[in-house]
Assembly symmetry: C2
Homo-oligomer: 203 residues x 2
């Protein structure tokens, strides 16, 4: 079996690199981390950015509550510990996907600065793009598409961000989107313009 | 803000679909799940398949101990519970990556049939390709590239698959690779031929 072992060694030396994966896609991998209150437009804007990127031939993937909470993180609840672990796992998956060469979008409230900073620390400089969806509590509560604020005000949901749990806004996000005053398409185009300016995607 | 909300609704209706992600790549997403004893060639053959696929323009990603145990699953040990959770999380990530349109390769001993079958159940029919790297314990122990069998025989590692913990071979894997008698390149080409025959990648 000496021959086989020798062959193994040769193959091990040629692993597909991140550079080769990115070359195939003609753009870099990155993590677009949308953060903000419930109702601030994270998921909506992330979907709009995803749509614009896909139309331009950019290879993307969107991680959100729908595909994370029912799958990878279905064994996590809403204790402080589980919330941190929720964001940690999402960060690790986003890192793997960026390493795969994908522009990975995440849409989670992710209210705690420390959790987001831990994700940033996992990634290379420039690879983590923190996007604050800025909207007043009034705006978000006025939208309340899922009726969650109403339930939180009624005490039916405990520890709801913005009501009885804090939202720690990023101190130096790469992008701030004014979701109080601008529409989804305009905000999505601001994100695209940023990615072009940084060379993440071709202009 | 009625206008903004209305815009939100419109955008929400256009989410990038798996079909659109796959169209961009000109192939389907899939999970190539390599299983077998330590030393059976999982990682080596998976790397060889990865290299061949990349050279053909297929968008891939390889999940292995290097990028999983130090990241997503760094908070898991080797208890029965943690081993099951290890494979569960890898399966969920592989599912997300296949949904992203990637041909995702995984190289883990994954010794228990139930754990692997749980991953299969997460995926659509045809999407999970179980690949048994078949090699006798003698072959694997003879290779012992990391000296792990030696340590297990000396009792320095407990619960080592094939020594004092069982390996439950798949009953109906999609592919069986004869790693006792064939070289890495020939085995890698068997995997490629299977993927072509099933239309996962273009012939």
């Amino acid at each position: 079996m000496t021959e086989t072992v020798a062959t193994n060694v040769t193959w091990h030396e040629h692993q597909v690199t991140r550079e080769e994966r990115e070359k195939l896609k003609a753009h870099h991998g990155a993590v677009l981390w949308f953060t903000g209150l419930s109702g601030a437009g994270k998921s909506t804007i992330a979907n709009a950015v995803d749509t614009l990127l896909n139309a331009r031939g950019i290879h993307t993937y969107l991680l959100d509550g729908d595909n994370i909470r029912l799958g990878l993180n279905k064994n996590l609840g809403f204790s402080a510990e589980d919330r941190a672990e929720n964001i940690r796992r999402i960060g690790e998956v986003a890192k793997l996907m960026a390493d795969a060469g994908l522009v990975t979008l995440t849409a989670f409230i992710s209210p705690y600065r420390a959790d987001r900073d831990n994700v940033r620390a996992l990634l290379e400089p420039g690879e983590f793009v923190e996007i604050l969806c800025q909207a007043s509590l009034e705006t978000c509560e006025g939208r309340d598409p899922k009726g969650l604020y109403k339930k939180a005000r009624a005490g039916e949901i405990k520890g709801f961000t913005g009501i009885d749990d804090p939202y720690e806004a990023p101190e130096a996000p790469e992008i701030v989107l004014d979701s109080d005053n601008k529409g989804v398409e305009a905000l999505a185009r601001e994100v695209i313009a940023y990615l072009e300016s940084k060379g993440v995607v071709p202009a």
